[in-house]
């Protein structure tokens, strides 16, 4: 195989998938890109606030090492640290590359990239394009991949949904089966390697901030075929979303990054309009409890605080809502730096946040868990790779804002060479592929036929709603073991009732009923992984909070959860976390972070500790010597 052109299939056309596609095409190999929607409409467009990278243009002495420390500290030390370090090292390069691609990042007076603050850090580390940074980054990659499409290196299959992997008799991935969402035609895609880049599973919770494509269905299919799923119980609930009938719309953390303040009236049930409530009668509870980070504490903490305030009846009007207030900032500044998200609020709620404090409440937002991968983005199935939100690798127990975009691109940029290397060197040992693709194709066709034939009294959309409700009630901000057990029982009931659904659509052309039924089945399987993972983990860490076990317990639980599929129930095992770079310490955002042990770097042993310290304090040192080419002092 070596030297020949390889064919790599990528599932998902968001930031991670497109990043991988671009790199593979550039390296001279061929890509089949499979996406349920035209790739330009992928969920990455919803990312608002920005992308993190320690470019250090504000004279703050920021560095990739500090980015690493903030990330693993914010993630409550559950992430394996070597890949986090590699991501943080690569982050400034990634931002510069997007700059070269023409992303209209906001800029300083000198015409350099501007950076703003985000949660979980004290540095200006977040590059941004207005308040639709994800959209802008995705478009840049969409444009580059379109160029490769014109060059014949990338074939897009938009409007196709992956149903399963094709595995040979050595459990090696040889391609996949996908379904055309118009004709329901099934097709086998042969590939030397497959990269999963399908994003998160927010729809398991019914209403979330995710797009309607974020079902986690394809990842669940991989899991059911033997791929390991890691840290599933870690689900990020974003502190500030706008409740809606059809979904929870995100209100970006950048609103707080630009100075937004969270508060409730000190008088419970205060009926006055927010503007009539004087300053001294407002309770800025995040600033009060966390003087150092204030409104920019990490998301898990902000979410729990807001949740708690509302639980105690102190929410605005006694309801599940608190104010997020920007009205002290000049309207023009807000328009330039946050325009896109303020428009969303105004469009859906009707108030203009430039003049009226927003009413917000936490909403399910992101999965830190995902397919298990090694440090080269390889899953446990040979030939299968994963990148982006659908892998578990970077964020530990809680993701910092603006780290998702950078982790998507890092994942894609790492999975691409890794998949190429595999495809170029794999030895097939005369494995028989006769009938392999047809066999899997027929198996999938059989599942579709069964769904179409079924004539039961259950309604799949109502089952989905029931699952969403029970998951949101019991497996989000606060978790109790008895309720988690009950949730799994409910999920088993739903799985059983699923067998009696009828699709209610006699027209199979472009029907959404068959794809939704397949997604629903897969979501229910992943829901069990999330729920039982949470049940097992008797501690509180990052986004996973159990009042009955309120402390982080490193002695017993500093380990990665790994779920493997079996028909009865997921089988759990655990593996140690690689904490070789930053020693775990207690998270405390009420004061400045306790100083981290120094991060080992290439050549670090040659430097005297004393000189390092002095430089660091003067804010002049670049902590990572391997980054000469992005050093600002050059």
């Amino acid at each position: 195989m070596a030297g020949a052109r390889s064919k790599i299939a990528i599932v998902g056309g968001g930031l991670a998938g497109l990043a991988a596609a671009m790199k593979i095409a550039e390296a001279g190999h061929d890509v089949d890109l499979i996406s349920v929607v035209p790739v330009k409409r992928s969920h990455s467009v919803c990312a608002q606030g920005g992308i993190n990278g320690a470019v250090n243009t504000k004279g703050e002495g920021d560095s990739p090492a500090k980015h690493l420390d903030d990330t693993v500290y914010g993630g409550d030390f559950l992430a394996n640290q070597p890949p986090v370090k590699r991501m943080c090292d690569m982050a400034p390069q990634i931002i510069y590359l997007f700059d070269r691609m023409g992303v209209p990042f906001s800029r300083t007076r000198e015409g350099l990239l501007d950076f703003r603050r985000f949660g979980g850090t004290l540095h200006h580390r977040t590059a941004f394009a207005g308040a639709s940074t994800g959209q802008q980054l995705l478009y840049a990659l969409d444009e580059q991949v379109r160029k490769w499409e014109v060059a014949g290196k990338v074939n897009k299959y938009e409007g196709w949904e992956m149903l399963s992997l094709v595995l040979d008799d050595h459990q090696v991935c040889r391609g996949l089966i996908a379904m055309d969402l118009q004709s329901l035609e099934l097709r086998a895609f042969q590939a030397d390697a497959v990269i999963m880049a399908t994003g998160g599973p927010g729809l398991i919770f019914g209403k979330s901030t995710n797009s309607m494509t974020c079902t986690g269905s394809a990842v669940s299919a991989c899991y059911q075929q033997g791929a390991r799923y890691a840290n599933g119980e870690f689900i990020q609930v974003h502190p500030t979303s706008i409740p809606g009938e059809d979904k929870l719309r995100l209100m970006s953390e950048s609103a707080r990054g630009e100075g937004g303040r969270v508060w409730v009236p000190k008088i419970e049930g205060d009926k006055r309009s927010p503007r009539e409530i004087p300053e001294n009668e407002r309770w800025y509870f995040l600033e009060d409890k966390y003087p150092a980070y204030g409104n920019l504490v990490p998301r898990d903490i902000a979410t729990r605080e807001i949740f708690q305030v509302c639980l105690e009846g102190k929410g605005v009007g006694g309801e599940n809502q608190v104010y997020l207030d920007l009205t002290h900032i000049p309207a023009e500044t807000l328009t330039e730096r946050l325009g896109a998200i303020l428009e969303i609020y105004e469009m859906f709620v009707g108030d203009d946040p430039r003049y009226v404090p927003m009413r917000i409440f936490p909403g399910v937002h992101y999965s830190m868990g995902g397919l298990w991968v090694d440090f080269e983005q390889r899953t446990n199935i040979p030939g299968l790779f994963a990148a982006g939100e659908c892998d578990y690798s970077i964020h530990g127990a809680n993701r910092l804002g603006a780290n998702s975009l950078v982790s998507c691109v890092y994942g894609g940029f790492t999975a691409a060479p890794s998949a190429i290397e595999y495809a170029q060197n794999v030895e097939r040992r005369n494995t028989d592929t006769n009938g392999l693709y047809d066999g899997e194709l027929n198996r999938q066709k059989g599942i579709n036929d069964q769904i179409i034939r079924n004539e039961g009294s259950e309604n799949q959309y109502k089952l989905h709603e029931e699952m969403g409700r029970v998951m949101t009630d019991n497996v989000t901000v606060v978790r109790y073991n008895d309720r988690l057990k009950a949730t799994d029982e409910k999920l088993l009931e739903l799985i059983d009732r699923f067998k009696h659904i009828s699709i209610n659509d006699s027209n199979l052309w472009a029907t959404q009923a068959v794809p939704h039924a397949r997604q629903l089945w897969n979501m229910m399987q992943l829901a069990r992984v999330i729920t039982l993972g949470a049940l097992n983990r008797n501690e509180s860490r990052g986004a996973h909070y159990k009042p009955d076990f309120p402390e982080r317990n490193d002695d017993e639980w500093l380990k990665t959860t790994i779920a493997e599929y079996s028909e009865e129930a997921p089988v759990f095992s655990y593996e140690p976390v690689n904490v070789s770079l930053v020693e775990p310490r207690k998270r405390d955002y009420s004061k400045g972070k306790a100083k981290a042990a120094p991060v080992p770097e290439p050549g670090a042993e040659l430097k005297s500790q004393g000189r390092e310290q002095i430089w660091a304090e003067q804010g002049k040192v670049k902590d990572n010597e391997s980054f000469k080419n992005v050093d600002n002092e050059k």
Partner: protein, 266 residues
């Protein structure tokens, strides 16, 4: 509230108990179109998408006839992906941001009418195929040529004003509202405002400028920029308020200069 010149938006004071959703349907491209009307209970904060979701759960028409669930596209529901565009009460827009209260206030009735976009192949019901818009982006070389994606340091210095102007163009989500509203655009005879605006976006960038000719050449064919009839409908319907007419004006100027230079070089 009317502080700082801000006015709170008008709200529906006496909402009906139920609302009617009238949908123009088609089984597949080429099949005859037909209408079906559904009735759902009114709730505050309904948008067109949540009304459709309610209908699809158990699709029974107002006459009590069990029918097939209406098909439509949706994804982000925040008006940034562009996929859920359709014609609502006669106007083209995204259905996620079309709030039932606002629609009823505007029409004064209790019925909302939904139709697929008319300028694109109709896949089924409210779903259309807009893939030709992405082909248009290929035609105008809507990207920046890089030497490679390896680390070559930062891009060029750019004044923030230019970055902000480009940002306005860069928010185009290829939704197709401008093409639906354009009286000149029929069956792909004219490349239309979105692709012209994207050409402008890259022609404004210091690196992108270097391939300006490629982009302008894509706009000089039979389906090119001269087809614009200056009706200015595009800018009225653009959900992202992109200065489409300005991009057409400025690009037209570039095309003229380019054509002249090309002629002089001969």
């Amino acid at each position: 509230m009317s502080t700082n010149g801000h006015h709170e938006k008008k709200r529906l004071e006496h909402p009906p108990n139920s609302i009617k959703i009238k949908i123009q349907r088609r089984e597949k491209d080429g099949a005859p179109e037909y209408w079906e009307t559904f009735e759902i209970p009114y709730r505050r904060n309904l948008n067109v998408i949540s009304a459709l979701m309610e209908i699809r759960k158990d699709p029974i028409t107002i006459e009590g006839k069990q029918t097939t669930p209406p098909v439509w596209d949706m994804s982000c529901l925040e008006q940034v992906c562009g996929i859920c565009t359709m014609v609502i009460d006669g106007g083209v827009r995204q259905s996620c941001s079309a709030l039932i209260d606002d629609l009823l206030l505007a029409s004064g009735g209790d019925t909302v009418t939904l139709q697929p976009m008319s300028k694109f192949p109709n896949v089924r019901d409210l779903k259309v195929d807009r893939s030709r818009m992405f082909e248009h982006l290929k035609q105008v070389h809507s990207w920046i040529e890089l030497d490679g994606t390896y680390d070559l340091g930062p891009g060029p210095h750019i004044p923030n004003e230019v970055a902000q102007e480009r940002y306005a163009y860069s928010r185009c989500m290829t939704c197709g509202c401008c093409l639906e509203a354009c009286p000149q655009y029929h069956e792909d005879n004219y490349i239309g405002p979105q692709a012209i605006a994207q050409a402008r976006l890259f022609n404004m960038h210091p690196t992108g400028k270097m391939e300006m000719d490629d982009r302008l050449n894509g706009l000089m064919g039979d389906d090119g920029i001269t087809n614009c009839g200056n009706a200015q409908n595009c800018i009225q319907v653009c959900p992202m308020s992109i200065p489409l007419t300005r991009s057409i004006y400025e690009t037209n100027r570039d095309v003229t200069v380019n054509g002249l230079l090309g002629w002089l070089k001969k």
